[in-house]
């Protein structure tokens, strides 16, 4: 089988997403390579967040949302009728635009995922798991003495790393990040970007960003999306290595966007 050899963690084939009668995204064919960071860029309304959210079926939660085409993960179509969205999300985690820790302690924020996944281990094993997740999210040293403190009592940047740690604790293969730095200051942003490079060794990361500098410095591959003027549906314009997209874009529209002429 070619599935085992596939270098892609997620592959979309001719994927379209509808909100009711409105087609938000049309005909996206795109592979998210394993252990790499793929950035989805484009102006507002180009459908990049919709594409990201369709990779772990978060769009299911929006009433009237519907996906056509295929999204393959480990050779399975995520939108096949027998696929459970809950199971999909346990393998493909998500970090959101605004830090959204639960109004619980830092410890309970991390332990929540393992607990709902039917945690069987002992208390000390859970402690270890929490510590590992916080270390992997580069937050352990800052909060190790305050694990009982509310997840909302720390700074915005720390909250976002807490959310990343929370996602890591369920041990997903892929982490989707929806503009994870848009609510953060530059120093916190840099920390998250450094963290993404660390996480790349063990995880596949797909990130939506408004910030072209962020895409150019913090990703391996870049996909550029743009809204079709005729039917207002977002479509993939160009996809390639980040160096290629930013230095020698093939499409004229990509070139115009990255040079800041619109968007």
């Amino acid at each position: 089988m070619t599935i085992q050899e596939s270098k892609y963690a997620i592959e979309a084939h001719g994927m379209s997403v509808f909100y009711g009668a409105f087609r938000a995204v049309k005909g996206v064919t795109l592979g998210i390579e394993k252990n790499r960071i793929t950035a989805l860029i484009g102006p507002s309304g180009c459908g990049k967040s919709t594409v990201l959210r369709s990779f772990n079926r978060m769009n299911d939660l929006i009433a009237g949302a519907r996906t056509e085409g295929e999204v393959l993960y480990r050779g399975q179509n995520l939108y096949a009728p027998d696929v459970d969205a809950v199971q999909v999300r346990r393998n493909i985690g998500m970090v959101f635009q605004k830090p959204n820790p639960f109004p619980k302690s830092i410890y309970d924020n991390i332990a929540y995922g393992p607990r709902i996944n039917g945690w069987r281990g002992s208390k000390s094993e859970l402690d270890e798991l929490v510590e590992r997740a916080l270390r992997d999210a580069a937050l352990w040293d800052e909060v190790k003495d305050d694990l009982k403190k509310s997840g909302l009592a720390i700074s915005g940047g720390q909250q976002q790393r807490l959310c990343i740690a929370r996602a890591l604790a369920v041990e997903p293969e892929v982490i989707l990040m929806d503009e994870p730095c848009s609510a953060l200051d530059p120093i916190s942003t840099l920390k998250i970007e450094e963290l993404m490079f660390e996480l790349r060794q063990n995880y596949t990361i797909c990130i939506v960003t408004h910030n072209m500098q962020q895409a150019s410095r913090a990703s391996d591959y870049t996909a550029f999306f743009l809204m079709d003027r005729q039917d207002r549906a977002g479509q993939l314009i160009e996809y390639g290595s980040t160096d290629q997209i930013f230095q020698s874009p093939r499409d004229n529209r990509t070139e115009q966007y990255i040079s800041g002429r619109f968007g």
Binding site: N56, M58, L61, A63, V86, Q87, V88, R89, R90, N91, G93, M94, F96, K98, N100, P101, F102, P103, K104, Y112, G113, R115, I116, N117, L152, C163, R166, A167, V170
Partner: protein, 320 residues
């Protein structure tokens, strides 16, 4: 005056300033004053009414306790309430109130919170906007209707279920169950408000970790809304304690110190309603006794209200 304003040139600065000061003078706004007085009066009426009620309650209760036939300690400890023979122990009345309220909460809490979770976490927008007004409509049914519902439907059903010898025609269980149904919409709508106020970003985070709807509702949304839910429960509890018509109709008309829900008994409110409806002579000790009961009732609901405020403050999970 307009002339003076226009003269504000550099050569005559002082005159210009004085002209402006003249313009700043206060003009009487009679309409504004009248409105302020009217609004103050509106607020004052509600405060004055409350003070008046409390004053009358205390006044009559004081003269009740001043009566040589009544002793304060017996009032709170004796288990017989027989005004005809001068026995004033409030316990049987308190006991019946607590029993019916407890049964009511047993029905209303799971039912109301379940409804709220369904409406807020499961129902589609369309279903919610249809169901919520219907539930609120339930709260508008006159309580006397609920009372006859208890007496003519629930009680016979209970008697068929448990046997006519066990269940009296008037009993606490039937009254409690129906009071429970009566306060369920209150718990449901108030809790639903609290649940809906939880930001959807928390739900998204939970779903993103692979949680099901139920896990998200129970572990994330309900804890975040807990203060509102507890407040709803306590408000409903005060309502159950103060509910009169259902218990007066269905629970019975004889003070009875019993914890047996199948037995008839009379609650504080039921007793007040019955006695004040009868041929009660003004100024008699019987007459004054109902004010003493009213005062106890007042304190019970006051304590519940204070408790709810405290709990809301204590458990408030700040989620943003």
């Amino acid at each position: 005056m307009t002339d003076q304003v226009t003269v504000s040139s550099a050569t005559q600065p002082r005159r210009a300033i004085s002209a402006k000061i003249v313009q700043l003078q206060r003009r009487p706004r009679i309409g504004e004053t009248i409105i302020q007085v009217v609004l103050f009066f509106c607020g004052f009426v509600s405060i004055f009414t409350t003070i008046g009620i409390v004053y009358v309650l205390f006044q009559e209760s004081l003269s009740f306790f001043a009566d040589p036939e009544v002793s304060l300690s017996e009032f709170f400890t004796k288990t017989v309430w027989q005004p005809q023979i001068g026995e004033f122990g409030i316990l049987p009345l308190v006991n019946a109130t607590l029993l019916t309220s407890f049964i009511a909460m047993l029905v209303a809490l799971p039912l109301g919170i379940g409804m709220a979770i369904y409406l807020s976490e499961y129902a589609s927008l369309r279903l919610r906007s249809t169901l919520k007004p219907i539930i609120e409509l339930l709260a508008g049914i006159p309580t006397v209707v609920y009372g006859y519902f208890a007496l003519t439907f629930v009680t016979p059903a209970l008697r068929d279920l448990f046997g006519r010898d066990t269940v009296s025609i008037y009993n606490n269980l039937s009254a409690g169950l129906v009071v429970g149904i009566l306060i369920t919409p209150m718990i449901a709508t108030l809790s639903e408000d609290a649940l809906s106020a939880v930001p959807s970003s928390l739900r998204q985070a939970s779903f993103g970790l692979g949680a099901t709807r139920w896990e998200t509702a129970i572990h994330i949304v309900v804890p975040a809304a807990l203060s509102g839910i507890i407040a709803a429960a306590i408000i409903a509890m005060s309502r159950a304690v103060g509910e009169t018509m259902v218990v007066a109709l269905a629970a019975g008309a004889s003070p009875n110190f019993t914890w047996n829900p199948f037995q008839p008994a009379e609650t504080m409110t039921g007793h007040i309603a019955r006695i004040s409806g009868g041929d009660l002579s003004y100024g008699s000790i019987d007459y004054r006794s109902i004010f003493a009961i009213g005062l106890v009732l007042f304190f019970v609901t006051l304590i519940l209200n204070i408790a709810s405020r405290q709990i809301v403050r204590r458990f408030r999970e700040v989620y943003e």
